[in-house]
């Protein structure tokens, strides 16, 4: 099984974000991490490789710092990486990002392409589905289980409210992976050492420029959301907070 995992580097979950001088984007002096659903997608690919043999390739687009995501993936067991390296990739919308990926992998022959179901920065949940359409492949989203069978694969789609659905699909296919599909592994020291020798192919913007176009949507205004809720802070020592809260629960909220 030859599997491509599309990964993204996003600001750390608890990173305090500030707008830059022009308020066009955030100030980049924050810590970054791998987009969590993508880590689950990588883990699933590694498990499928362990089960069926094959190759796991990871790809990302972004500035030099995003290579960290690829290095960590290689350390965990991915075989090689593709880095579309340019600051300009950060501003591409999902359609252009998918087009850039499709262009970068045009000479490869993958059986499966995984993405995380959505990213923690934009949260659009589109790139994987768009990529499937561009490649002309079937796809399924929000996947919680995957099994190979004679006609292709059987996946378990997560639906709302605790419902699920199995879907049989042919290969090749694109799947967007849900968090919690598996348990993430840690990179071993040996893995980290071996990662240094694994190839990272750099793809410049110029190589994929002809495949992408202008963004079809534009962030006109990025801002700190105006709070509509009136929040009362309860302060003091834990004992004082307990008394104040219980007072509210009893007299204002009437739940005691």
């Amino acid at each position: 099984m030859k599997i491509l995992v599309c990964m993204k580097q996003v600001p750390q979950k608890d990173a305090p974000l500030k707008l830059n001088e022009t308020a066009a984007w955030i100030r980049e002096d924050v810590s970054y991490e791998v987009n969590e659903p993508d880590a689950f997608a990588l883990e699933e690919a590694l498990r499928q490789k362990e089960k069926h043999t094959g190759e796991v390739v990871v790809i990302t687009s972004g500035p030099a710092r995003s290579q960290q995501v690829l290095r960590e993936a290689l350390a965990k067991g991915a075989d090689r990486a593709i880095h579309l390296e340019d600051n300009a990739f950060v501003g591409l919308d999902a359609l252009n990002t998918a087009k850039a990926f499709a262009a970068a992998i045009k000479d490869e022959k993958f059986d499966l392409i995984f993405t995380g179901l959505q990213s923690d920065d934009y949260g659009y949940a589109q790139t994987g589905v768009i990529l499937a359409e561009l490649l002309g492949w079937p796809h399924a989203t929000i996947i919680m289980h995957l099994e190979k069978n004679d006609s292709g694969i059987r996946v378990k789609r997560e639906l709302e409210a605790g419902f699920f659905q199995f879907v049989d699909m042919p290969l090749p296919a694109v799947l967007t992976i849900q968090s919690g599909i598996n348990k993430l592994r840690y990179a071993t020291l040996i893995g980290i050492k071996q990662a240094k020798n694994k190839p990272i192919r750099k793809v410049a913007m110029a190589e994929v420029q002809s495949a992408i176009g202008e963004n079809l949507q534009k962030i006109e205004h990025l801002y700190v959301p105006q709070k509509t809720k009136k929040t009362e802070h309860i302060e003091g020592s834990p004992a004082e907070i307990a008394k104040k809260l219980v007072d509210k629960l009893r007299n204002e909220l009437r739940v005691l």
Binding site: E133, P138, R157, G162, Q165, V224, L256
Partner: protein, 331 residues
């Protein structure tokens, strides 16, 4: 001729998904702001059986897009059928609810038409003749007003709860219904879906709980959940959790609150060590009163909390539990 807005409603298991009424409300609001005409579409094997309910709302027209190939749902069939409808009727703006099913096909549909989707919007603005869609970024830490930079059709999806379904205006007369037979060739549909099923035995129905105590990653370890359980017991509340807690197996799946779990609107929701990721918030933002405890003063949960306690839940919760017990015992 004014431009049209097309709301694509969702039907599920023989019933209209009630989140569709929220999208109708949204469509009516955009129509009122822009002067555009509002139409709706239902898609399915027997879409016309659902059309009458939609036609009772204040919409100019309802399309019932039908084909046996549309049952059960597959992204191939839905994208093909809607591409035909949209190509024929040429709406300016296509609106849908941001459901798991819509997420599964609308990016495919838009891409097939060379267009874009602005997804998971929480509202819109109409400023200087320009339509902007507001959405959350970075799990709610920032907001963005986004415009389309392409020709029509434009596609946008709205987050659950962004509009009120009960505010969808009824029509003064029943709107005309046009049945459209979708022409889906053999071989277009590649996925073979099986029956939808519920996995967890629903031991607890959190939608009926008056008070909920919910834990998130801040609880750190499974053995600490007892701290929250004790508070829940003292309050006579139900225990719930954000997704990561259930993924770890620390609490069963039927305790999950959020887009993948249950959506609740209790009298009181106590969020302990929950950061407030969008996927969780959509499941509980309807609670009458929200109390949040989190040591991160920037946690997005505080944006929607009525009462905020910035602090370590391990310091805050045990004394709170004791105080609740004391007061209940008549202290």
């Amino acid at each position: 001729m004014p431009d049209t807005i097309l709301v694509v409603v969702e039907q599920r298991e023989g019933k209209l998904n009630r989140v569709s009424w929220e999208t109708i409300t949204a469509g009516q609001a955009v129509a009122a702001a822009t002067g555009w005409t509002l139409e709706a579409a239902v898609v399915g094997g027997t879409a016309s059986t659902f059309a009458a309910e939609v036609a009772a709302k204040k919409v100019a027209k309802v399309y019932a897009v039908e084909s046996p190939k549309l049952e059960p749902y597959t992204p191939d069939a839905f994208a093909a059928a809607l591409k035909q409808l949209i190509t024929a009727k040429q709406p300016k703006l296509v609106l849908m609810p941001h459901t798991y099913q819509v997420r599964d096909f609308v990016p495919k549909l838009a891409t097939a038409m060379g267009r874009a989707v602005i997804s998971d919007c929480i509202g819109f603005k109409h400023e200087n003749g320009k339509l902007l869609f507001t959405r959350q970024m970075f799990q709610g830490k920032l907001a963005a007003d986004v415009s389309f930079a392409s020709d029509a059709p434009w596609f946008a999806t709205f987050q659950n709860g962004a509009f009120r379904g009960d505010k969808a205006e009824a029509g003064t007369a029943v709107a005309p219904v046009e049945t459209v037979n979708a022409d889906i060739a053999d071989g277009v549909v590649r996925n073979k879906p099986q029956e939808v099923f519920k996995e967890a035995k629903q031991a607890v129905d959190l939608t009926q709980a008056e008070v909920i105590v919910a834990v998130g990653r801040g609880i750190k370890e499974q053995k600490n959940i007892v701290i929250a359980q004790q508070l829940a017991d003292a309050l006579g509340a139900d225990l719930a959790a954000s997704r990561p807690i259930c993924d770890n197996g620390w609490l069963p799946m039927d305790r999950q609150i959020g887009s993948s779990g249950q959506t609740v609107a209790p009298k009181l929701y106590l969020a302990l060590g929950i950061s407030g990721a969008i996927q969780h918030i959509v499941g509980m933002k309807g609670a009458r009163t929200i109390i949040a405890v989190n040591k991160d003063t920037e946690a997005p949960i505080f944006e929607i909390a009525d009462y905020a306690i910035v602090g370590n839940l391990f310091d805050i919760v045990p004394p709170l539990t004791e105080e609740v017990k004391k007061v209940k015992a008549g202290g």
